[in-house]
Symmetry: C2
Subunit: 108 residues, 2 copies
DNA sequence: CGCATGTGCAACGCTGGAGTTGCACAAGGG
DNA sequence: CCCTTGTGCAACTCCAGCGTTGCACATGCG
């Protein structure tokens, strides 16, 4: 199986990393460039760049040019969408849980 | 930073792995022992055991003895709790998003 | 224009996590 | 009681992902 497809939700993987989470939080506060982030966070610029690439891939971050630097900012819509997805999953689990409970009860 | 604390949410890491997701889904359908799961899924029993350990650690799976085998089953309450947490996070993001929007708008 | 600053690219190191194999031990079931 | 079946433990391989460093290239600011 060895983590190839991640058919479940690639977003979970993105959210699973601390650094990426930090970046996301930081960008949530205010848009910034890679170099800027590299100065504020305890990781190299390249690391930041790669994380931004991941975040951009899952659609959580958007890129925009400003002057000679490239500013990255949180993609509000996608953020909201992910939120809804999470809610959906929770709801599905609730339903599944309900099912499990029924079965358990009718067996008990 | 190197993924040590995972202060964000250890659950995300658990949910990020495909095999673990499969196990969880399978157990959601019906409780099973490690050997049983190993027969049904394309991974060794030991791999299953380790994944179950992880799932048990984050509280998503509960363990129970039955005959000479150890049956693992989904922890309904925890499942529900995680669902609520996810909703909470989504809500927080919504609020944050709202904040970002306000700032963006007042900046013009 | 030239220098400072930002980005792009490539190669590399390192660790953790996923998975495997092999064997020893435990304990019901017949 | 024995043998089948299930679990426990340990050592090992493998690799994807995080992070680094070094250098080349781009570009705007003064």
């Amino acid at each position: 199986m060895r983590r190839r497809g991640h058919h479940t939700a690639p977003v979970f993987a993105a959210l699973g990393d601390d650094t990426r989470w930090s970046i996301l939080v930081r960008l949530g506060w205010e848009p910034a460039s890679a170099s800027e982030l590299a100065r504020e966070l305890p990781v190299s610029r390249q690391a930041i760049v790669k994380h931004l690439e991941v975040l951009r891939t899952v659609g959580l971050v958007r890129t925009r040019r400003s002057g000679r630097s490239i500013v990255h900012e949180v993609e509000g819509a996608r953020l909201d969408e992910v939120g809804r997805n999470l809610r959906g999953i929770a709801a599905a689990w609730d339903r599944r849980l309900e099912g499990i409970r029924s079965i358990a009860e009718e067996r008990g």
